[in-house]
Symmetry: C2
Subunit: 321 residues, 2 copies
């Protein structure tokens, strides 16, 4: 199979051995695979793939068709449309994953959207609901709301009746974020004036933490899932105690199978019905063929886009399906 | 009634009007009242009493007998032994509090122990179990374990089958903390070598946070309920994300009645049976008559004691009970 391949910071499309599905695993012919910030970090050598994932093939999410079943795999039939998060290896033509790590693709979701859905909606759902227990009527602040996780979070919050303040640095992206259901879209500077907030989804990191705490409502929660702006934070513990606040930090990628599977079951139960009803969608900034991965990565790191950059793979018939 | 009275940093025993129990309230003739760190902060002017509490009478916990009932108060009968946390006003001869803010005193607990029980055991139970969800088999680190909350936490953790590493600065107090059920009692320096820890009870504050995060197990929780060592902390968010860790900061004192009452109901259910069976106890460093409050405060701030300093009040017959 062909796969996007990292080597010392460069990107190429190389041949790799076809994977074979093991016990409980499913072989998927990949149609679409979204790009994520972790891929860019991995390319730079900062974020190696976890054990069990290929060290040189990026891709934390993908969608495709089941083409082979390993022993005891029984959740999906050959030909079914599935999507998943993975520790890596999604930006390829084939991947073998445990069937508990797969979700069905709703009929209303096309391949490009399905390829860009699992990582950001699972991350956003896990952060907002499983971690922070965001409830209806609560006031959410999303930092960096024009990105993949941000646009997912804005839509999920709107769907459950929370009010969302969204910070978006690029002026051109603000109308798009508002159309996804944000109550108020603002520049990042001075966001605290629009508080207090019950939940803060922190995708920028260190530089925001002190102001996040100041803007927190009593009992508020800050969920840190990105540190693009830096990892070092200054924290006033007395201020956090006064708010009875919590700082929760999380990543999906490093979790063991059972925790990832539990997060996906929550997405199946609570998020996929919103896709089926058309209430939410995956904003797609652009799609690129697998061969043009270099251009896709370039686009991904360019500011001002709204939503996902997705690679489209065309299985080349080497699979035994 | 007489009460410990703060005025510009000085302590005196002054006369105050007897309180009258309002709707749902109970008048308690106080027998014993523990000292806490918050009293010392309040004396220095750093921690004013919350609204609804007397501004000049300290005392966050007390035990005594019910001597009068306000309208609709029905939970306790006159003469019953009760104890409670309060926003202040506990270091006095009388206090009127809502009946939902009271707990019964188990027969096995004497007045001195009952007066020093509510604040520290409610704080420790809330922090370890309601906030951090400490479970059997988990590894707990208690910083400053020789103090009131620390000795309560060590005993509660032992009672549910957690293993506890306790840091105690004063060498003379270490054997006592070990006898309360700590698995390992160490000096504070280099505590991280004894990790990883699933839960850290942070009573020292800022200077410990970076090392707390480093010593955290995957999914670990740091509960900050004291900042005696300073409030400013440096936090590496990437390290916290890697641990999928949480920092939870909390205070009991500022909580509204319904939240305090809920915390007390949890203590009634989970902690008072352990006192009834004799499994846990309130270590008492010393008791002082109310008149000797100055000496009690002096003792409280002297390092090297183990357990609570408690004021003993003798109702002087001015109440209508």
């Amino acid at each position: 199979m062909r796969a996007v391949t990292f080597s010392d910071g460069s990107i190429s499309i190389d041949q790799h051995p076809d994977p074979t599905p093991g016990v409980g695993e499913v072989l998927v012919a990949i149609r679409a695979a979204g790009l994520n910030g972790a891929d860019v970090l991995q390319r730079k050598g900062f974020y190696p793939a976890p054990a069990g994932s290929p060290p040189d093939i990026p891709g934390l999410e993908f969608a495709g068709e089941v083409v082979d079943l390993g022993p005891d795999a029984a959740r999906f039939a050959i030909g079914e449309r599935v999507m998943a998060i993975a520790g890596g290896g999604g930006q390829a033509e084939l991947i073998a994953v445990h069937e508990r790590a797969l979700m069905p693709v709703p009929a209303a979701v096309d391949w490009a959207a399905a390829g860009g859905l699992p990582e950001v909606f699972t991350t956003a759902h896990d952060a907002l609901f499983t971690q922070a227990a965001l409830g209806s009527g609560e006031r959410l602040l999303v930092h960096g709301a024009a990105g993949g996780v941000g646009t997912a979070a804005v839509q999920l919050a709107a769907a459950i009746g929370a009010t969302t303040t969204a910070t978006v640095r690029n002026e051109d992206s603000r109308a798009g974020v508002e159309s996804l259901g944000a109550t108020l879209v603002i520049e990042p500077e001075g966001f605290g004036e629009h508080g207090p907030f019950d939940v803060v989804l922190e995708l920028v990191g260190g530089p925001n933490i002190a102001a996040d705490v100041d803007a927190l409502a009593t009992g508020g929660r800050i969920v840190v899932i990105g540190v693009g702006g830096g990892a070092k934070a200054e924290l006033n513990l007395l201020a956090l105690m006064g708010k009875r606040g919590r700082i929760m930090a999380s990543t999906l990628r490093a979790r063991p199978l059972e925790e990832k599977a539990a997060a996906l079951r929550a997405v199946e139960r609570h998020v996929l019905p919103l896709f089926e009803s058309g209430e939410i969608d995956v904003p797609i900034a652009a799609t690129y063929p697998l061969e043009d991965a270099e251009a896709a990565y370039e686009h991904f790191t360019t500011p001002g886009k709204l939503g996902k950059v997705v690679l489209m793979a065309q299985p080349n018939g080497t699979v035994n399906g």
